[in-house]
């Protein structure tokens, strides 16, 4: 397969490229990048990208594909299709499936299934502890051999600090990061952020300190044993502060946040819409501002989706009973582009947080456009407006608080391994 992408603005922060260039893809590799590349006449596709941005395929460090076990919420096929539509070419799927991905059989199953049915690359994240119970380490070595790129007990924190310490030590053998979901178990008996809004709704609430205590604890442990820590879905001003301070003295700390944490405040929960129920919860205005500041000053390195699809039965219930999570693949890039339109980040900075930064965290050979390297590439328009329609989602999860929102910026084309896996109907 030969694809020529012409006249697009190629932005690849990993190689400091930002220029109008053509990209020639042959088989699964980028063969040539240059000005006015000549058509050879035997291209399978010639893409006119003028007026659009050509970027490395996005990498999501945090998603839930629900398979195995919850195929009624999402499958590897539907999840990766949604990811491709959103511009993702590589995604990391969390371990809270059924059975839990805490052993190599499950890891192998996911990788095999993704190879057969996936529209993009899938990298499993193994469980830190068996059954996500927080008691004994999973067989991280065997899972690493099978293909995991990180470990996490995402969904909860490892409550036992000694077990967590061992995880930080043990993962040194494989040089993979521990991804920390930060939530103090005892302080987290609630569904929304504790503050001015929970005061009005009367919903049981979770204070910011529930996250901040564990952000602090996990950094302290990682630093003590000298391991890499990646803090995921950071949502509070206090967490941003703690991470910024830690980064001054310790190099191996990275973090991510998700689009909903810089787009929505807890005021969205006032109407009891269960699509606003997410863990960690939507925070206050002050927190949202701090998250943006953290993205701007580099405290937060990565934007992840925390794509958490659910069936409607899990959401069409009382707020307390509803499952947590937002179906995020298909809105993440567009929502994040508002950071560029709003002057928080430059377009290069934004792309960096979606490409080379996550690639470096996970030691993946992707996230850049380079001659001789794999062709995982997207074409998107940062200004094109569209209206979010949950019913048009490729994901089985229609659970989004952004239904009906008019967003600016849209992914138009996704190429994985030199193959076009998604093309917007409006992009000819």
């Amino acid at each position: 397969m030969k694809i020529l992408i012409k006249n697009g603005r190629v932005i690849d922060p990993g190689n400091s490229i930002n220029d109008i260039l053509d990209v020639y893809i042959k088989d699964n590799l980028v063969e040539k990048i240059g000005k006015n590349l000549r058509e050879k006449g035997n291209e399978d596709h010639i893409i006119d990208a003028s007026g659009h941005i050509v970027a490395p395929g996005l990498i999501d460090t945090h998603a839930h594909l629900r398979e195995p076990g919850y195929e009624y919420k999402e499958t590897i096929a539907t999840g990766t299709m949604a990811a491709a539509r959103g511009g993702f070419t590589s995604i990391v799927c969390m371990a809270n499936t059924d059975p839990v991905n805490d052993n190599k059989s499950v890891t192998e199953y996911i990788i095999k299934k993704a190879g057969l049915e996936g529209y993009c690359r899938v990298f499993p994240c193994g469980a830190i502890t068996k059954g996500l119970r927080g008691e004994e380490l999973s067989e991280i070595g065997e899972m690493f051999e099978a293909g995991i790129v990180a470990v996490s007990d995402d969904g909860k924190s490892v409550r036992n600090s000694e077990v967590l310490r061992k995880a930080f030590e043990y993962t040194k053998i494989f040089n993979i990061p521990v991804i920390s979901h930060c939530e103090d178990h005892d302080l987290s008996k609630g569904y929304v952020h504790e503050g001015s809004v929970s005061l009005l709704t009367g919903l049981d609430a979770v204070p910011s300190i529930a996250e901040e205590l564990i952000v602090n604890r996990d950094i302290v442990i990682a630093e003590y044993v000298g391991s890499h820590i990646h803090l995921t879905h950071i949502s509070t001003a206090g967490s941003v502060d703690i991470i910024a301070n830690a980064k001054k003295r310790y190099q191996r700390v990275t973090s991510d946040t998700c689009p909903h944490y810089f787009t929505l405040t807890d005021e969205a929960t006032l109407g009891f819409d269960t699509n606003t129920k997410v863990n960690p919860p939507l925070r206050s205005k002050k927190d949202v501002e701090a998250i943006k500041e953290g993205l701007k000053n580099g405290t937060i390195d990565i934007i992840a989706t925390d794509h958490a699809p659910h069936d409607m039965t899990s959401k069409d219930v009382e707020y307390n009973l509803a499952s947590s999570g937002i179906s995020g693949f298909e809105t993440a890039l567009s929502l994040s582009l508002s950071l560029v339109h709003g002057g928080v980040l430059s377009i290069e900075e934004l792309i960096k947080k979606f490409t080379i930064n996550p690639a470096r965290l996970l030691n993946l050979p992707y996230g850049e456009i380079k001659e001789g390297k794999t062709a995982d590439i997207i074409v998107f328009n940062p200004y094109m407006e569209w209206v979010v329609d949950k019913n048009a989602f490729y994901s089985k999860g229609k659970n989004t608080p952004f239904h009906g929102w008019r967003l600016k910026g849209k992914n138009l084309l996704t190429i994985v391994d030199g193959r076009i896996v998604y093309r917007d109907t409006h992009f000819k």
Binding site: S198, L199, L200, T201, G202, L203, E318
Partner: protein, 307 residues
């Protein structure tokens, strides 16, 4: 003025005019309960369902009596006798009830927002009869009615709310209602039972009971919400009642004509002594009486709304 709302889900969002309009309407219904034949044909042909997922004596009975005195047909569904125990979701229950064309559904639920969800699913009017720690609008309205009746005014009063504020839908709804008036509202209780940022609602917070009741015109007592885990917020009921139980000595610090209110059910000897609950300052049973009039007013307005 005309009533245009389909539902009464909370005090939040109601204007002062709407609140006063409900109270005026209730006023005109109060006399009916004093007649020998306590029934008028106003709501003949209307069907009112009470759907209670949480136990209740006062609220449910009060709604039922209010509806019956207006000649509406009433049906009571409680969690223990409903398909809820068979695993039916609120959504399915709502859709099924809707098919039987009720005019009003009064819902009580342990979870905040359940009435809002129901209101979005049915064409019938929905009245929030208490949802978790969120709101209990008809209680706040009957409290306001009682305060007005006893004091002749609401403006200029010092109103003290004492107890398990964090779990109290009654406190929330009352605070939101009293905000519309020129009142000095003081919330008092152990700090563990005072939600963060409570002052943002325009109230003062006082941990010391003696200071709180100083010159109070109205003292509103709340019970500990055991069903919402209230007991774990204090070391013991005994210690709580020592520090935050309302006793006769407190009344000496309040205004001479102070009134003592309680939404019920009262826990005698915990938040209030017998002496105070049954004493001359107590208007606890007047609240219950007024509850019927207020609910008659609300049912009347909702069923006769201008659409």
């Amino acid at each position: 003025m005309d009533w245009i709302r389909k539902d009464l889900l909370g005090i939040k969002g109601l204007s002062k005019e709407e609140i006063l309009f409900i109270l005026e309407t209730a006023e005109s219904f109060k006399e009916i309960s004093l007649r020998e034949i306590k029934k008028v044909p106003t709501l003949r042909g209307k069907t009112i369902i009470t759907l209670f997922y949480e136990p209740s004596t006062r609220t449910r009975t009060s709604f039922e009596i209010a509806a019956k005195r207006l000649s509406a047909d009433t049906i009571n569904i409680s969690a223990s006798t409903s398909s809820y125990v068979k695993g039916e979701t609120l959504k399915d229950t709502a859709k099924n009830l809707e098919s039987m064309k009720p005019d009003v559904i009064v819902i009580r639920h342990s979870m905040p927002g359940a009435p809002h969800m129901l209101a979005g699913l049915v064409d019938s009017s929905v009245v929030n009869g208490g949802d978790g720690a969120h709101e209990h609008p008809t209680q706040a309205l009957l409290d306001l009615f009682t305060i007005k009746e006893k004091k002749g005014r609401v403006d200029g009063l010092k109103i003290v709310i004492i107890g398990d504020i964090i779990h109290s839908r009654v406190a929330r709804s009352n605070i939101l209602a009293l905000r519309h008036f020129d009142t000095d509202v003081v919330c008092c209780g152990p700090p563990t039972m005072i939600p963060p940022k409570l002052e943002e609602l325009g109230v003062r917070v006082e941990y010391n009971m003696n200071r709180a009741v100083e010159d109070a015109d109205v003292i509103m007592m709340l019970r500990i919400q055991k069903e919402r885990g209230g007991v774990s917020y204090i070391p013991s009921i005994r210690e709580y009642s020592t520090i935050y139980g309302l006793k006769a000595t407190h009344l000496e610090r309040a205004k001479k004509d102070v009134i003592i209110m309680h939404p019920g059910p009262i826990n005698r000897g915990v938040e209030i002594t017998d002496e105070v609950a049954d004493g001359p300052y107590s208007v606890i049973l007047d609240q219950v009486e007024n509850g019927v009039a207020v609910r008659m007013g609300i049912l009347y307005l909702l069923t006769g709304r201008v659409s």
